[in-house]
Subunit: 169 residues, 2 copies
DNA sequence: CTGACCATGTAACCAGTTACATGATTCA
DNA sequence: TGAATCATGTAACTGGTTACATGGTCAG
């Protein structure tokens, strides 16, 4: 890493878009937006207002390039990584510092405070959550490696039930 | 849930502050800020610019109340939940819809694209990450239930090593 | 032809960010 | 007494959000 200028910094969303384009590209802004919208996490809403400006500013920064691929009267613009974009994508993907960050998990956050609830309330909440945590048997659609997500859901479920058991001791 | 008006909506950060105040309060804005700053996740920076305005607007919405507890010339203002604040905190804590959301994990996100890397690059990245994922033996400080975090780190580590094994098959 | 949905995009807003300002306290 | 740190707070910015506008395409 030779003097990575702050101007090369990418937001997590930008990095993710680059990785997406590298793996599945070229894509239109709309297609990118749909990937976000269909992802199981509400962390990103998959709003047009996020994606269209994002690709626009990345193109201006010479990270993406686009070509008009309209076949009808409707405009249609596909985006690809520039060479610089490839480099930044790799840097983002290999950013160990960021990768190891625990990030944000609304369940984990709440469980810190599970002890505040009355036994009965807590059990009711735990039941409701246990019902709703998706089971590995029905993997969430379209978020990359099947295995990754299956394993992730398994781990999260296991973790939750182990944590829950603490209150039963 | 009887007609929860949108004005009662809390951001995740606001909800977390309420839960914190309920469990450990009363606290000053500075003390709240420190909790965020010391948390292992970079998800929130723990900036004054987030916390001071937050408590101010929650007080204006009759969710928090504050009292001046200065003992020296330096102003010192402690915040507590109002009755309404208690209710909203419980609603936030028991929000199953939000709780079950997978949230955001920078590692999980990146691992979706691990297949793009050359074997050698990938192994190097995996090694670097494995070195840096905190071990359950050295729990992160001050983020609530010890057990919760220990279990969480264990689960994350297990998940990562199982996922990694896929590439070795 | 018309209504539903597809696709592109913009506008207004907002909850965070970084950076800075200011004064209080503490300690060498 | 002066430097470092504590503590409170504000200002400017920004990357997202929701909501809206507009026109194209397609099915009945």
């Amino acid at each position: 890493m030779v003097n990575p200028k702050p101007v090369d910094q990418l937001t997590e969303m930008e990095g993710l878009v680059l990785a997406l384009l590298h793996r599945d590209g070229p894509l239109t802004a709309y297609e990118i937006k749909e990937v976000f919208r269909k992802s199981p996490s509400a962390f990103w809403s998959g709003s047009a207002g996020a994606v269209y400006p994002l690709v626009k500013r990345l193109e201006k920064r010479d990270i993406l390039s686009s070509t008009d691929v309209s076949e009808t009267r409707r405009p249609r613009r596909e985006f690809t990584l520039t060479e610089r974009g490839e480099q930044l994508m790799l840097a983002w993907l290999s950013d160990v510092e960021r990768a190891v960050d625990p990030g944000y998990d609304p369940l984990r956050t709440r469980m810190q405070f599970a002890g505040m609830l009355e036994d009965q309330q807590r059990e009711a909440l735990f039941d409701a959550i246990a019902d709703r945590i998706p089971s590995p048997a029905s993997p969430a659609p379209g978020v990359g490696t099947e295995d990754l997500h299956r394993l992730w859901l398994e781990a999260r479920r296991d973790w939750f039930s182990r944590f829950r058991a603490i209150f039963r001791r």
